[in-house]
Symmetry: C2
Subunit: 205 residues, 2 copies
């Protein structure tokens, strides 16, 4: 039972990956890149430290450009992030050997989020199961589990070395002379998982 799991190296996608292994799935982590930067390497490094298999999924640069246009048009990043996430899920689900796709989206997220009809449409169009282990968990539960499992680094998005869609989107905006801080919220903390907590490592040993 192999599942391909969209992975940024952050706490949500790491927790979701762990839950998938706990309920019997063989998890393959997949990090999206548009080929502008090599920031996918942070996710690869975290995947290695956690002991997961990891690969990258290269999406066409054109999609990032369309997302950047949306972000500029809206003056905020929500629609752009949603667009990229949907395209990433579709690209993953359309690969011939993929029967199950998953991600770390959670109950309290506004974006990215696929509502019921979008989730079913993804499953039906590509003949896959779409699994979101965190969708029924609130922030208390996620914090409780993350706190037990992972060493986490939390920083502002502009400073953090991580592998989510935002990094390349910010980069492309800067290339076009647009200040990402005119679009992304100024105080936007994000997380990167550094590894298992010591007890967890022992528990696995």
């Amino acid at each position: 039972m192999r599942v391909y799991h969209l992975y940024s190296g952050g706490k949500d996608s790491s927790l979701a990956a762990w839950i998938l292994t706990r309920i019997g799935y063989e998890v393959k982590l997949v990090t999206v890149t548009f080929g502008m930067l090599d920031n996918w390497k942070y996710a690869e490094e975290t995947a290695r430290r956690l002991g997961f298999k990891h690969e990258i999924l290269k999406l066409p640069r054109e999609l990032l450009e369309r997302a950047a246009e949306m972000a500029v048009e809206d003056g905020r990043p929500g629609r752009a992030i949603q667009f990229i996430h949907e395209k990433a899920l579709e690209a993953l689900a359309s690969k011939p050997d993929v029967e199950r796709v998953s991600d770390g989206t959670r109950r309290d997220d506004r974006v990215p989020y696929l509502d019921l009809s979008k989730a079913r449409s993804l499953e039906d169009r590509f003949g896959v199961a779409y699994i979101r282990p965190l969708l029924g968990l609130g922030y208390r539960t996620i914090n409780e589990l993350v706190g037990r499992l992972f060493e986490v680094e939390i920083r502002e998005s502009e400073e953090l070395e991580k592998s989510d869609y935002e990094v390349e989107l910010r980069h492309l905006l800067r290339e076009r002379g647009i200040d990402p801080l005119s679009i992304f919220p100024r105080k936007h903390y994000q997380s990167r998982v550094l590894g298992w907590k010591e007890e967890k490592v022992k528990a696995r040993g």
Copy 2:
């Protein structure tokens, strides 16, 4: 990390309970009764076979009567089932020692289902975390996991010996001279878990 989990003995609430144990929770199963019937015993028996702690939660008969009125008024059971489920979660969450409540509601259920604002309201009013392990899982994933884990009996609701709200609701309607089949769908298959699959038992041994 103890969680109190609303439990009917069916496949959804059994699968959700199993996932909770796999991610580190100490699970206490709780079956609701209005004291009209002793059908909670089926859930108790399944809980025993699966090796979970189990208790019953008695709700006031008046709530079942209000639910029956809703069902009669609507000519279908949705609002009544939703009403009972919300009252059950609230009764459980209001107990002094309860910090976490959970259930087996899933992505593809219409009822019972708490939308985001209701879920947050439950958490905030009672100071609990509300955990729904199946909310991000579609029917393919649930069937795949249930098939690996449990021996399941599937029958029409009218015939099945089980412990969900419907049984007492149907009973009360019959007492009042109302045919439950005028309210509940005629072909409505439900499940009862009989025990672990053999391999699973071995895997635990």
